[in-house]
C-alpha cells in the first residue's frame, strides 16, 4: 500500500501538486493561527505576569479593584470561582437534559420525530449569544424574580440556565453520534437476552459509548466556560464570591469583554486582562485535550 502511494506521488501531474500544496498550506496556516493567537495573548500579558504581578494573590484574592487609585488589587479568585460555578451549575442542568435527549433521539424516537427534533436542536445552536443575553435580561430575569421571590433576577442561576441552553445542542449532537456508533449487533444481542430497551441503554449502550458521552459533556463545558456575552448580560456582572445560585457573579470572560475597551493599552490593568486570557486559554485547552483523549479512546475500543 505504502509503496503504491509513493509511486503515484512521483508521477503526479502539475495541477495535482499545486492543489496538494494549497491544501497543505491551509492545514499548516490554521495551526499557525492558533499558535499566533496564543503567542499574541501571551506577549501582551507576559511582561506583567513575570514582573510585578503577585501570581499567588491573583489566584487567591477576591478583591478585583483594577481601577482604584490608591488601592489597586488584581485578585481574580472571585472571577475564577464565578466562571466555574456558573459552568458547573449549567452542566448540572445541561448534562441530564442533553444526554437524555440524545438517548431519546437515538434509541426511542421514530425517524420522523427524530428529524423534527434535530431541526429544533440545530435552531437552538444557531441563536446568537447576545440574543440569549437579551432573553436573560428580560424573560429569565422576571421569571427568577417571580419564582424565587428574589430581589433581582440577574444571577448565577440565570446565566447557568442560558449556558445550559447553549451547550445542550453540542451535548446532544456529539452524544447522539457516540450512541449511533455503537454497533446494532450489541443491541440485538442484549435484546435476545431478554433486556428491556431501557436495560439495553444503561447496561450496554452507556458503557459502550462512555468515552463519546464524556467528550460531549466536556465540549459542552468548554462552550460554557468560553461564553461571554450572555453571562455578561445575565449574571449581574459584579465581583462577588457566590454563596448560592441566586448570588450575582462575574466571570473571567465577561471581565475581559467589559474592561478591555476602557483600559490604557500596555498598562498593568491591560496586561492583567491578557493574563486572564492566558488563564482561560489554558482552562479550555485542558478541557478540550481531555475531550480529545476521550474521543481517541472511543476509536481505539472500536
Amino acid at each position: 500500500m505504502n509503496i503504491l502511494r509513493k509511486k503515484s506521488t512521483a508521477h503526479l501531474p502539475f495541477s495535482e501538486t499545486v492543489i496538494e500544496l494549497f491544501i497543505r498550506l491551509c492545514g499548516i496556516s490554521s495551526i499557525l493561527f492558533v499558535f499566533g493567537i496564543f503567542f499574541f495573548v501571551f506577549r501582551e500579558g507576559a511582561g506583567f505576569l513575570f514582573g510585578g504581578l503577585d501570581v499567588g494573590q491573583f489566584l487567591t484574592n477576591v478583591e478585583w479593584q483594577p481601577t482604584s487609585l490608591n488601592n489597586k488589587r488584581y485578585g481574580a479568585l472571585a472571577l475564577i470561582v464565578g466562571t466555574f460555578s456558573v459552568t458547573l451549575l449549567a452542566m448540572c442542568i445541561a448534562v441530564p437534559f442533553g444526554l437524555g435527549a440524545a438517548i431519546f433521539v437515538s434509541e426511542f424516537c421514530s425517524p420522523k420525530l427524530r428529524e423534527t427534533f434535530k431541526i429544533i436542536i440545530e435552531l437552538l445552536a444557531a441563536i446568537p449569544s447576545v440574543v440569549w443575553g437579551f432573553i436573560g435580561l428580560t424573560v429569565m430575569n422576571q421569571l427568577i424574580i417571580t419564582v424565587f421571590n428574589a430581589p433581582i433576577g440577574l444571577t448565577m442561576l440565570n446565566g447557568s440556565i442560558l449556558l445550559a441552553l447553549m451547550s445542550v445542542p453540542i451535548i446532544v449532537s456529539i452524544a447522539e453520534d457516540a450512541l449511533k456508533a455503537v454497533p446494532d449487533s450489541y443491541r440485538e444481542a442484549a435484546e435476545a437476552l431478554g433486556a428491556t430497551r431501557w436495560q439495553v441503554v444503561y447496561r450496554v449502550l452507556l458503557p459502550a459509548a462512555k468515552n463519546g458521552l464524556l467528550a460531549a459533556v466536556l465540549l459542552g463545558a468548554a462552550r460554557s466556560i468560553g461564553e461571554t456575552m450572555a453571562v455578561l448580560m445575565a449574571t449581574g456582572h459584579s465581583v462577588n464570591m457566590p454563596s448560592s445560585p441566586l448570588s450575582w457573579i462575574r466571570t473571567l470572560t465577561a471581565t475581559i469583554a467589559a474592561e478591555l475597551g476602557e483600559v490604557a493599552r500596555g498598562g498593568e490593568h491591560y496586561q492583567v486582562l491578557f493574563i486572564i486570557g492566558i488563564l482561560l486559554f489554558t482552562i479550555t485547552f485542558v478541557v478540550n485535550l481531555i475531550a480529545d483523549l476521550a474521543i481517541k479512546g472511543i476509536r481505539q475500543e472500536s
Partner: protein, 261 residues
Amino acid sequence: MNSNNQNGSQNSAVIEVTDLKVRYGDKSALNGVSFDVYQNEILGIIGPVQSGKTTLLKVINRTLEFTPNTTVEGSVKLNGEDISTISDVYGLRRRIGMVQPLPVGLPLSIYDNVAFAPRTAGIRSKSELDEIVERCLQQAALWEEVKDRLKALGTKLSGGQQQRLTIARALSHQPDILCLDEFSIAVDPVTTMRIEEVLKTLRTKMTILLVTNLVQQAKRLANRTAFFLNGDLIEIDTTDVIFSENPSEQATYDYVNGAFG
C-alpha cells in the same frame, strides 16, 4: 424459569410452527412454513443463503419486532402457547437462548457478559451469580481458559472463545430452547468440534435448533433436519432420511450432495 422435565415423551412438540409467513416490506422471506420441534432433539436447519433461516429464529424469540416494516402471519406455539399473545416478551426471550453467527461480545467483562441475562431477570446475589457464571462457562467449555481473568473484557478473547462466550451467555438464563445461527462461521475447525461436543451434552437438557451452513454438521449432530430454500420448507425428516440416497425431494438430495448452495 421452568425446569426441564425429562418425563415428556420424545415426541412432544416444544415448538409448533403453523403456516408461518414473514415479509420484509413487500419482500417475502418465509412463504408459509409448518413444522414441529420435539423435546430434547437437535433440529438441524440447512439451506443456501437467503433462504429464511435467520428470519425463522428471529420470529421465535420475537426479536424480529425491532426490524421496521415486517409482517408475520401464521402462528408459532411454544409449549402450546401462541408466542404472539405472550405479554412478557422479555421473559419469552429468556426462555430461548440465542447464539448469533458472528460472536457479539457485549462491551463488558467476561463475567458481566454471562451475568447479563440473570441480572436483567433480577438476580442480585453475588454467590448466585458466581455460580451461574461458572456453570455456564463450564457448559460452554470455556471455564478452564478464562477462570483466572473473568474481569477481562469479553471482546479481548479470540474468535472461537468469544463464540463459546456467547453460548455460555445464551445458557445463562437456563433456556428450554437453544438456537444457534451458523455458529461455526467465525470459528476454527478445532473449536467447532469442541462446541459440537458441548451441544451433544446439552441435548439431554434442552431442545436445540441448529441453523448451519455446514451440511455435514447437521449430519453429525441433528436428530432431524429441515431443508429451507427461498423461504419454503422443502423437506423435514430424520437426518438419516435427508442424507440418504432417497429423500422425498430431489432439491434436498442436490443440496445435501453439494449440487448448489
